[in-house]
Symmetry: C2
Subunit: 215 residues, 2 copies
DNA sequence: CGCCCGGCGTGACAAATGTCACTGGCATAG
DNA sequence: CTATGCCAGTGACATTTGTCACGCCGGGCG
């Protein structure tokens, strides 16, 4: 928000990583801003409290690195990352509370450079930011391992389709219309998915599949 | 963790508020510890990443103020607060992501002194801690207003009974047995509760009632 | 080729769930 | 006293959900 210093300093100036922070929780955002500003080689040049604002801020401030929370109103971190990277030459680090394997895959598909859970020690974060600013990538080893270990999804394509719509409280009727199928068919897929996932209701199944990052 | 300085300094020494911080997210806990330690009159003397550890730490370190996250594994913030206050002469501030009226009521019933959402600006937090250390109370005005505005629970006793069991996935059949009622009766209470709470399923209703602190 | 297997798709059926109309008790206002 | 309203309690009914047995198709395999 503070005006850029007079003209010439470009983003790849030798000293100082220009950082943007986006997190919807004021307390945490404030703490991170203050904390990272203490690092001698990091300068927080912008911050936002939702995905849409994050994109605007990134375009305006052109930071070297963007630190995005995954869970944000408006546009989630990955969506914001995709939009930012499409328009600005920068690198993105995603921070998340619920680090599921599938999310990591989505994130990597959006070309983010870093992926860390909020269980990361604070000191480590500055380290990651420097790595990423230097052109390297950083993926939290725990999550990476989980993503690679994760058993292949046992669900069939159509089962996944049906499950996808089951989140967000659509009725079987509505799902059937949406997929151009008979109600019984949809129920069948859902039932089958429930069996495979050992769930007691389709909401439960959808939840579990989501946790695994399969939908 | 660090050993206490030689003997005599007691917790009500004139200078310095001894603070404990509990939050299960390492990143946030670390940021808060660092940030609040920067305040000249605050000293972070312990921290924990779950409710049980928080109680132990509080007993061991005897801080002046405990800052507890509401959402923690083990024991949630309010439970931890109750246990701490039963054994240590200290004051508790609860910090939470989802600030719902009912939670505030539960918290106050446990004699906590402060209640703030994570949307609080970071600068404000130190202020709150000083207030509380000084024996005053601080309740986030937004939440307080919401709690006072919140209409009285519209549910009848039996509806509440039925809802209580509906959390934890008991079937109508089982609830009926447990309450010595006919299944139809239970369904009726549940249905009525759903209408009153504008919910689409009994789980939904139970969830909403819980959110409000009614069960 | 003939066979079997796995995924897709369907309808019939049963159980669980939610809605409704109704009875009776009890308190309270008129 | 009577009327009114609220809550407890019940069963009949409609809807939704989950399970099953089945038919169809395409792709390996003996």
């Amino acid at each position: 928000m503070s005006g850029a210093p007079a003209g010439a300093v470009e983003s790849d100036a030798a000293r100082g990583i220009r950082l943007m922070i986006a997190d919807d929780e004021h307390l945490i955002r404030g703490a991170l801003v203050a904390l990272l500003n203490l690092e001698p080689d990091i300068e927080v040049v912008a911050h936002a409290d939702n995905g849409v604002a994050a994109v605007e801020q990134a375009i305006a401030a052109r930071p070297d690195v963007c630190l995005l929370d995954l869970e944000m109103p408006g546009a989630d971190g990955i969506e914001a990352a995709a939009r930012i990277l499409a328009q600005v030459s920068t690198r993105v680090v995603i921070v998340t509370r619920h680090a599921r394997p599938g999310v990591l895959r989505r994130a990597l598909a959006s070309k983010v450079s870093g992926f860390v859970p909020k269980s990361t020690p604070a000191e480590e974060l500055a380290h990651v930011i420097r790595d990423v600013a230097g052109g390297r990538r950083y993926i939290d080893p725990e999550i990476a391992a989980a993503a690679l270990t994760a058993e292949r999804c046992p669900l069939t394509d159509r089962e996944l389709d049906a499950l996808r719509f089951s989140r967000g409280a659509m009725s079987v009727q509505q799902i059937a219309e949406r997929l151009h199928l008979a109600q019984g068919t949809v129920r069948n897929y859902l039932s089958s998915a429930m069996t495979k996932l050992d769930a007691t209701s389709r909401h439960d199944a959808a939840e579990k599949a989501w946790q695994q990052g399969w939908i």
